[in-house]
């Protein structure tokens, strides 16, 4: 028996590290854009900046197949319930990036029509300032999100489903 195991390569690690390694390197973003920030997001996905390098190139058309919600643009009060609903339709585990000043806190629109920050309707993991953020800025935010995922403990969620969000 032991001879047999010796013939195969293996390594030891913690379950959390292995799971988060898989999660952070295959984030599937939801293909959604609300305003001009979406243009920068598209540029980030295209060949010059190429988020395929981080395993994120697969923009999904359905929230049920996505685990990363890049809120790219101005969230109006009329759009807010739809954003919330998209987020609820995403399967756990899921992450949210607020991209640009509008999604972070209303940006240059302190008005009756604009939601003053998308974190009023959904929990946000990473905030990226900028109007719009450059592709480099978005990449920095996404790498920051990867670092955050690497620090998380998915096995805790077996016992406490909200462990990740309440940490």
């Amino acid at each position: 028996m032991s001879d047999e195991i010796d013939n195969y390569p293996f390594f030891l690690t913690k379950a959390d590290r292995f799971i988060t390694w898989a999660q952070k390197n295959s984030l599937w973003p939801l293909g959604s854009g609300l305003a001009c920030c979406a243009i920068e997001m598209i540029a980030t996905a295209a060949s010059r900046f190429d988020i395929a390098r981080f395993g994120m190139e697969l923009f999904r058309a359905s929230p049920r197949q996505a685990d990363l919600f890049i809120v790219a643009g101005t969230v109006t009060n009329k759009m807010a319930p739809i954003v919330r609903r998209l987020w609820e339709q995403m399967a756990d585990p899921k992450w949210v990036v607020a991209m640009g000043n509008c999604a972070v806190g209303g940006g240059p629109f302190p008005t009756y029509a604009v939601l003053q920050g998308v974190d009023r309707v959904i929990p946000v993991d990473v905030y990226i300032a900028g109007c719009p953020p450059t592709p480099q800025g978005l990449l920095h935010g996404l790498i920051t999100l990867q670092e955050k995922i690497a620090r998380s403990h998915p096995t805790m969620e077996i016992f406490r489903p909200d462990a990740r969000r309440t940490e």
Partner: protein
Amino acid sequence: MLEGLSDFPALGQVHDALVNRFRGSVLKSAFEKKELSVRIRKEELLPVLAFLKSERGFNALNDIIALDNHGPAGKSEKRFSLLYQLYKFPDAARIRIVIDVDEDEAVDSIVSVFKSADWTEREVFDMFGIRFSGHPDLRRIYMEDDFDGHPLRKDFPLIGKEAWPSKK
């Protein structure tokens, strides 16, 4: 004949026909920067537009513009002005019909003449709260259905009627 209109005989004919046909309903005409603007009584809006469309060939409604005359200077006049911008192609002629509406008055919907007025009137209703009687489906078009107020009125505060709810 209005000053300057003699250089544009086609538009001058339209103006003369309008004044002859709706004598007493045309309150004021102006010709400025090659644009003809005719202010009429609001009760005659539908017949005037139908006349311009069917008999004078103004076959397109470019836009309906609403103005809020709210303020100390405008106390004697009515609260709103509605500007109907008509266009005629292939002649590329334009005419503007102006009516005045008060806050508690309704305006005849012109959807029966120009179908494109449907969403335009909904926009005016949404932003200014001007009601259009006879409109097939007068709902808000931009703001959410339960929104309170009409944002483009000059007495509407920019941040909305209530302060934003604080984060929990």
